[in-house]
């Protein structure tokens, strides 16, 4: 026998299931009147500094089918790379947003501002990015990934640099489709599988 560590083990995850909307975005699920509004409706408030952007996309399973039941959360820095809560951060940037795949089309939309670069490990800088967390029925532990931008310099990003198969880097890069418009599709499995993170 050895001494006992006084650390605990993390509680295991379980799938968010098909009814995650009831708990997280009840108005979206049709449960009205419990809260004044759903949590995380806006990543930024009116007047947030920076370039206003809209990211649309969808989540596909291993057969190519588009999920209609996925819920996503995003977390990001303000236009100069400060996270809410850090000294000097833009008070109009909430940083956090919740959004769901459309019940019919499966499309999701994130309206926000483009974040600035943020410090990485060992004096590096991480290219502008938005952290994403995806939950749904059939996903047993929420999937972490990131959105980068094709019109930014991603060459020195320490996370992207770790991806061995270079074509897979593209799965984390939102494609510009118009002025302030980006497309970011997530593939859970198979061809073009998105790089998911353990971070």
């Amino acid at each position: 026998m050895v001494q006992k560590l006084d650390t605990l083990t993390e509680t295991p995850s379980q799938t968010a299931g098909p009814y995650v909307h009831i708990g997280c975005i009840p108005s979206f699920a049709g449960v009205e009147g419990v809260y004044p509004e759903d949590l995380g409706l806006r990543a930024v408030e009116q007047g947030a500094k920076g370039e206003t952007i809209t990211i649309t996309g969808s989540v596909h399973d291993g057969t190519g089918w588009t999920l209609r039941d996925a819920m996503l959360e995003s977390w990001q820095a303000d236009a100069v790379g400060l996270y809410p809560g850090q000294d000097g951060a833009d008070p109009k940037v909430n940083g956090f947003c919740r959004f769901a795949a459309d019940k019919d089309s499966g499309e999701f939309t994130l309206q926000t501002i483009k974040p600035g670069a943020v410090p990485g490990p060992d004096g590096t800088w991480q290219a502008p990015h938005i952290a994403l967390w995806i939950v749904a029925r059939g996903i047993n532990t929420g999937l972490q990934t990131r959105i980068y931008f094709e019109d930014e310099d991603n060459s020195a990003d320490p996370l992207l640099a770790r991806i061995e198969q270079r074509p897979r880097v593209e799965t984390l890069i939102a494609k510009k489709t118009g002025d302030g418009q980006y497309r970011f599709d997530i593939r859970l499995q198979g061809d073009g599988e998105t790089v998911f993170l353990d971070i």
Partner: protein
């Protein structure tokens, strides 16, 4: 001033022990088969992105938000079912309480029916039950909900699968990398050991962590029973031996 200063850091998240979690793909939970990545996750030490996260204030929480018996009718009429207090403590892997963190729950009604367009089970809706609640942990990481015990329900998976009675939990922690969704089961439910979603967790002792014991010390005579559900989130690595740039 030197650019690199050794300092007591308390920031990097402890890497997630995936063996403590469900397997991503389990043929007995059919939906997981096409929704789980084929390729390994990309592992990397946490960064500011995962170490920071949204903070929610007390202004967010309404008086009835943690009372699922009354919050759908806004106090007008109570929900039907076995009245329970569901309480516990949120801690991190270093056994420290996680204060002021948002805990959200959702559940079926006493008959096992969710108030959701996608739920077509013929058990009736309760006109006074919505099925969601939220609260912030106090300075000691404690939280509580007053609710009704949810019913078990059938679901389309194998020929005759039923979910045990359960309450879904969503917990934030203090960094986006601590984000967790899980489910709370109830002591003594024979359906726990028959549930393919429970069985995605391969470590029996970890399954036991999701089963809330009856807690008669917190039950209120002639009013409600109590169940205790403690939650542990990822912790932060504590070390005196790490060089980090100043100001981080």
């Amino acid at each position: 001033m030197p650019k690199w200063m050794p300092r007591m850091t308390d920031a990097r998240l402890i890497p997630r022990d995936r063996s403590a979690h469900p397997v991503p793909r389990d043929p007995d939970y059919k939906t997981s088969v096409a929704r789980s990545p084929n390729l390994p996750l990309l592992s990397m030490p946490s960064t500011l992105t995962e170490e920071t996260g949204p903070v929610f204030g007390h202004g967010l929480i309404g008086a009835l938000d943690n009372n699922l018996i009354l919050n759908f009718s806004q106090g007008a009429a109570p929900a039907i079912g076995e009245r329970i207090l569901l309480h516990g403590r949120v801690m991190d892997e270093n056994a420290r309480p996680v204060p002021n963190t948002l805990v959200e729950i959702w559940q079926a009604n006493a008959g096992g029916r969710y108030r959701h367009v996608k739920d077509t089970y013929f058990a009736p809706l309760d006109p006074n039950f919505g099925g969601c609640g939220r609260t912030l942990t106090d300075e000691n990481g404690q939280y509580q909900f007053l609710t009704i015990r949810p019913g078990a329900y059938p679901w389309p998976n194998r020929g005759n699968d039923w979910r045990p009675m359960h309450v879904h939990y969503s917990i934030f922690g203090q960094g986006f990398g601590q984000r967790l969704i899980t489910q709370c089961y109830f002591e003594g439910d024979p359906l726990i050991d028959r549930c393919p979603i429970v069985a995605t967790i391969k470590d029996r002792s970890q399954i036991d962590r999701l089963v809330a014991p009856l807690d008669m010390a917190r039950a209120k005579p002639m009013d409600f029973l109590a169940y205790k559900f403690d939650i542990v989130l990822r912790g932060r690595r504590q070390t005196m031996f790490e060089n980090r740039p100043e100001g981080m």
